[in-house]
Amino acid sequence: MIIEHIDAQLPGAVTDRHDFRGDQTIVIAKETFLPVVDLLHREGFQMLVDITAVDWPERPESQGIGRFDVVYHWLNLASQERLRVKVALADGEAMPTLATQFKTANWFEREVFDLFGIRFEGHPDMRRLLTWDDFQGHALRKDFPLDGGDVFCMEGCTAPYNNGERN
């Protein structure tokens, strides 16, 4: 139902959709992301359940499809409707942050940045969340080795705390 609303109010925003096992999914472009989020918020999708990403290194970037899918899950508490929003993103591209609108986005976006290396523009505190600041690479990228590679190489590392400020 919500997808029809998005179609009516922002025609052309939804570039792809599917409904697998009852999970409504829409794919939108990065440019239309913030208007769609505003619309979702107005329509009662007030709970941002989860933010994550999926890495597809094989996907052809030449055809304009980025390497990453940033995946958002929303929940409408009144109607119990769920919606998955996916945005394709090229390596090095940044997503607009939702941390001001949804406080829960703050840490979820930090986690995505930590594990995938996707930056979020305008995020108040874009630091790693799970791994340490000197960690090399982004662990959930498909090209990151499963055994962790040479993560304990501490060459060039700075002390974790430097006058209370991290750098």
Binding site: V71, R84, T104
Partner: protein, 399 residues
């Protein structure tokens, strides 16, 4: 002497930095909070996590769907069986199968036992952190009984790995139901005892009322789920709102608080334990005989007896172990109401033996992210109370 004091004051602006954790008795696992104190008042609190990060999601990409089950034990290790159930439900949703009635009922039974155990840990330890030791002792006896029951059912107390894709590891043994009946009586008494010790205790009131207050809108905005959200006054419980495993057929209530403070969270948890016991009672009354695994050799392993005596079963066993299940291509998000809130699994399948991407949505990560907001301006002793009432489990938080 005076000049030294002056210099110190000028240097750090009269603030004191205190590291709470990573190994502090109240952090329940390894997490750290860097507190900036002005006297006893918290000026800034910076939570630091990741000490227990094991890369569960990364590991999942190289393990088969069945092999991932033991890793789910280690998410919320206080109620491991609920993680097993949540994960199995997610894979079954991806496969599009429904499990037998008896398996559903047993899953509900063990989930509710785990919820009681988890709330016992949360309330008991929260009380200990604040200084009320006795309630903890009364409650932990019951937690021990729950783990004894798990040991009977799964052979393991903590890391149960009780579910399989399409059903259960095995049926509950003889003697499980009578033992659960005894537990129902004893646990109700223990909860009464606990409530007599805490609910009207003036010291408990002083320490918990008005601490960690959060409005319903803020709680939703922070992504709260579970008892913490319900304490703030939002009657959201996935067992009622989006029923799974036949929860819609059970009769139970959802307790809701008003202010969202530590006391309300305690009351909500206490009542949820009673409601869980109610559900367990209903499961025991209606437990029907039957198989506990789907009758599909491409999903559930055949019994050992058949593997040794029948050719087809041997082939199915070999195929299932070596090549895994035939997974459809697609993505699902499945959420269950775990003890801490919405435990979600987002699985992306490319049709292979292993999941292409497996994401665990931990309930306590969004809750913990609001920690600074909750304790800023409060006293350091209140931080301990808030942390305990949030029920942060580091294994689930860091994955």
């Amino acid at each position: 002497m005076e000049s030294i004091a002056m210099t110190r004051q000028m240097l750090d602006g009269d603030k004191m930095i205190v590291n709470m954790g990573p190994s502090h008795p109240t952090t329940h696992g390894t997490l750290r909070i860097v507190l900036e104190l002005q006297g006893e008042t918290i000026a800034k609190a910076t939570p630091e996590m990741g000490y227990l990060h094991r890369g569960v999601e990364k590991l999942g990409e190289s393990l088969s769907y069945q092999q991932f089950i033991p890793l789910t034990d280690r998410l919320n290790y206080c109620s491991a069986i609920m993680n097993n159930v949540g994960y199995a439900c997610a894979v079954e949703k991806l496969l599009g199968i429904e499990i037998p009635k008896r398996a559903q009922q047993i899953r509900v039974l063990v989930s509710e036992l785990a919820r009681v155990a988890d709330h016992i840990v949360c309330i008991g330890v929260n009380a200990v952190d604040i200084g009320a030791f006795t309630a903890f002792l009364y409650l932990f006896k019951q937690r021990e009984t729950v783990y004894d029951l798990f040991e009977m059912a799964a052979g393991q107390r903590l890391h149960t790995s009780f579910t399989r894709i399409g059903g259960l590891f095995r049926d509950i043994p003889e003697g499980f139901v009578p033992a659960t009946e005894r537990f129902l009586v004893e646990c109700t008494e223990a909860i009464d005892e606990m409530e007599r010790l805490l609910t009207r205790n003036p010291i408990w009131h002083d320490r918990t009322k008005g601490i960690g207050v959060i409005s319903a809108e803020d709680a939703v905005n922070w992504g709260y789920t579970g008892p913490c959200l319900r304490a703030a006054g939002v009657p959201q419980d996935l067992r009622k709102a989006q029923p799974y495993l036949g929860y819609e057929t059970y009769d139970f209530d959802i307790p809701v608080g008003t202010t969202g403070d530590v006391f309300d969270r305690y009351l909500v948890r206490a009542e949820e334990m009673r409601q869980s016991l109610r559900i367990i009672r209903q499961v025991l009354d209606r437990l029907e005989p039957g198989p506990v695994n789907v009758d599909d050799p491409k999903i559930a392993l055949p019994s050992k007896e058949k593997v040794y005596t029948r050719m087809e079963s041997l082939i199915h066993h070999f195929k299932l172990i070596m090549h895994g299940m035939d997974m459809p291509v697609g993505e699902v998000y499945s959420a269950t109401e775990a003890a801490n809130g919405e435990l979600g699994f987002y699985i992306v399948s490319d049709g292979g033996k292993n999941p292409y991407r497996i994401r665990v949505r931990p309930p306590c990560l969004p809750i913990f992210s609001s920690f600074e907001d909750q304790v800023k301006g409060g006293l350091i002793a209140d931080a301990v109370a808030v942390l305990g009432a949030m029920n942060i489990i580091a294994g689930e938080l860091d994955r």
